[in-house]
């Protein structure tokens, strides 16, 4: 399905570029605005999601009706109270990768800004989808967890390929994975959202599960990407 992304939060874009509050010259500011518009014109945000009951083993989560097994304690903790999950994937499409690549060879600063814009665009699309899923759960009197992606915590990135195969992302939204389990198009998000009959008690800090936890400049600055 298509997802509408009509605007991008400039503060978020600046943050992903390591902005620390210095004065932004007016010409740079207008360049950023132009990049935001160009990104919005180029992205084709699309999502696919499927709902599955889960089964819990001693050291993993089984996605019922598929052969996908999510190993590790992180995902178990994340899905502590859940008995179902949504698996989902969102991408802003291949055109965005080419836009960034072209800009990087023509005017690198534009490439860097566009890269940040696209990163925020896919996060925005994922947020929108998550909100939609939250509303669906709410109508059923249920609750959802935050997003948890392959590669977070001790959930290996290697589950990515099977994860995307189950969602048929290659055919449905043009999203594939490389031999090293990197997603293509690069501006894509795949994640698991738990569906819980009870309110999620443990306050979930998305940083806990993030692979960039130890090196993230945003986290160190107290302004993590998830706000």
């Amino acid at each position: 399905m298509k997802i509408d992304v009509e605007s991008l939060d400039e503060r978020e874009i600046l943050r992903t570029m390591g902005y620390r509050g210095s004065e932004i010259p007016t010409d740079l500011e207008s360049l950023i605005q132009r990049c935001i518009r160009q990104t919005l014109d180029t992205i084709q945000p699309r999502a696919v999601f499927r709902r599955f009951p889960i089964e819990k083993d001693a050291d993993s989560i089984r996605i019922q009706g598929t052969d996908l097994i999510l190993p590790g304690t992180s995902i178990q903790k994340h899905l502590e109270t859940s008995n179902e999950v949504w698996l989902f994937a969102v991408t802003v499409g291949q055109g965005t990768d080419k836009l960034i690549r072209t800009a990087l060879s023509e005017k690198p600063e534009e490439g860097v800004i566009l890269d940040s814009c696209a990163a925020i665009a896919v996060e925005t699309a994922a947020d929108k989808l998550q909100e939609m899923l939250r509303e669906t759960a709410e109508r059923e009197g249920k609750f959802i967890t935050s997003r948890f992606s392959p590669g977070y915590g001790d959930l290996p990135l290697t589950v990515q390929r099977n994860f995307l195969t189950i969602l048929d992302t290659s055919r449905k939204i043009g999203l594939t994975v490389t031999e090293s389990f990197l997603m293509v198009p690069s501006k894509s998000v795949s994640a698991i959202i738990g569906i819980s009959p009870t309110e999620i008690q443990t306050k979930q800090n998305p940083c806990d599960g993030c692979i960039l936890r130890t090196t993230c400049e945003l986290r160190k600055a107290g302004t993590p990407c998830w706000k």
Binding site: M1, L14, M17, G18, Y19, R20, G21, S22, P25, T26, D27, L28, S30, L31, Q44, F49, G65, T66, D67, G93, Q94, G95, D97, K98, I100, R101, T102, L104, S105, E106, K107, P108, E109, G111, V112, I113, T136, G151, L157, T158, N162, T165, S170, R171, I173, G174, T176, V177, T178, E179, S180, F181, L182, V184, P185, S186, I211, L212, T214, T215
Partner: protein, 792 residues
Amino acid sequence: MLEMKNKITLLDGAFGTMLQQKGLLTATVPEANNLTHPEIITEIHREYIRSGAEIIYASTFGVNRYKLEGTSYSVSQLVEAAVKNAQMARDAENPQVKIALDCGPIGKMMKPNGDMSFEEAYQIFEEIVSAGEQAGVDLIVFETFTDLAEMKAGILAAKEHTNLPIFASMSFEANGRTFAGVPISAAALTLSGLGVSAVGINCSLGPEQILPLAAELAKWTNLPILIKPNAGLPNPETDQYEITPEEFAEITARFADLGAVFIGGCCGTTPQYISALRDRLSGKRPAARQAVHRTALCSAERTVEIDEVRIVGERINPTGKKRFKTALAEHDIAYILTQALEQTAAGAEILDVNVGLPGLEEAAVMAEVVEAIQSVSNVPLQIDSGDPKTIEAALRIYNGKALVNSVNGEDRNLETLLPIVRKYGAAVIGLTLDENGLPQTAEERVRIAEKIIRKAGEYGIPKEDVIIDCLTLTVSAQQEQAMETLKAVRMVKEHFGVKTVLGVSNISFGLPDRETINTAFLTLALGQGLDLPIINPNVRSMTGAVDAFKVLSGQDKNSERYISIHNQIQSEKPVVPDGGSVSSDSSLEYAIANGLRQIAAEATIQLLKTMEPAEIIDQILIPTLEKAGTRFEKGEIFLPQLIQSAGAAQAGFEEIRKTMTRSSQSDANLSKGKIVLATVKGDIHDIGKNIVKVVLENSGYQIIDLGKDVPVEVVRQAVLRENVKLVGLSALMTTTVKNMAETIRDLKNHSECRIMVGGAVLTKDYALSIGADYFAKDAKAAMDIAKKVFEE
């Protein structure tokens, strides 16, 4: 064999949907059902045949080496079983039914977006199509493709390894493009050129949404058209398709009115849909289609029709350009890319690509340059070479429909090159010269043009794909020839109705103020009907002449294009820098600190009058950029500003290089040292490496950029060959850091070089633990490390 005159041939419907209904879609490899449940598969085929399907697709859609990885199945095993099941159904129901090998996308993305090479895709397809022919299919269907290059690899594999007819079908979104951005026109031009038996559209949308797309397809091809729509659009919550067999049949039958001859169903359709379709189509004949005669070229994302004057950019050519020769010799692909993008921005709609330089392996370099340009640009390319190997190497990997520059009227030349042009479905330029040399009259040129057009026709190349070059000769040497050339342009157009091309700039060779002569000649030639002027689009008077001609000839309706371009030109103030802020300070220091390219270039030109290049570099360029690095470190400026500063420094360096090339000085001794940069094997996220490159390059180092997904041995070879002291490696993901470790081990075993590493998941401790000498957390850190290493 497959297409019946004036008759619609019914195809089958979805297979996955049927498997799902029978509860067999849970397996990771749905095609394994061919072995585990052959009777059910055969029954599904039989149901489709009973519903009226005359061509059935064997259940082989996802059978390929990549998707079968880690399973116990082989490609030939599943293809054989699937074809056997289809044959059983055919034999039981109707021996007239034809069986297709169904071949879907591999499931991996091609380079440059992904990590699959053209050759790898080709080999994967080769295995499938060979197995299909062996198993006895009647035809091969490539369907649901969204990447034109991947499909081209499949078609070439099928043409080169089987004798079967090929159907080629792509999936489009409602906006008329595939996920990879391929418009219908580009798909039609490219696939028709490759010599398939039918082109089509399947999946992704319902019949209603595909109708306008099919109408567009019919405007771009003369081939039979194939349509397999989904049963409407799926409900995202339930994943169920939502139109009934009757609704589906009612709309789908309308494809016959567009002239489609192969019609069936894709996802969500069942035998009920196909039989409803049969009923609707009974007695209906496909509408007669109008023949298409368009001269058009395309990349995967953009079609350029030669229905008005189109500028061909001539700058990607080493002839007479020292800077370009150096770039080619040093393998500086980035420089070539800037030449491509600059011309496109200036108005070129097609780019000529010539990399002929003695001592270089032309075919390999051409293929590499074509691939690199296509990775950043969507402009169709003109492959400029006389060498058949080079032309073939380029056409093979070219994504889209290219123009070959050129063949001439010599028999041997035509017999060698035309088959290559035909095989890859390119268009071709015919130079009006032959065994007898340069013709002296317009009439002789016309005679040679006639021969080229006729010969091309004999090889199956239609005349709309032949563009005639009436040869621009140097007016200072053969003054009377200018008018003969112009006369020939008119005659060729009138006699044969073909498009024409001219290399314009050659006219003024040997004369002062060449631009004046070039502009006048261009204007005269346009008046005679020139379609493709090959010019330097960076010269404003030349593109201006084209813009003006389009107004005067009525090609530019209501002068809209002219007004929009030339209003902008008029409003551009002369000394406004890139960003827009005007300043009275025009020093190089100020320009670099504020990232002003234009001012930096101008300031450098001024400084070169009084200072030595090395002084400018050591006293101003590098220290100012270092200062910007320090401000970046302190958070006084942020990343885009640091890069802007590096860009301004680059503008300064470029002026210095130009001056030195003009005075034939080598700029080698200006370099502070060579650094190899690479994003390691398996990793395709190279933005960090690219940022480091921009900054280091403009800090005075010579950068050998090996790109992304670089094999271990390629890094080693570059380091040893160039005797490099410092290597920078980047890796973004935990999964690729192990390849970084492997690259480091290999380098340490074979050389003395120092290694710095960077990447989002790395820490200093970890970097050192895998053997790196330095950890560069950002571009500034890389500058500091380089300085330290080279000052030791």
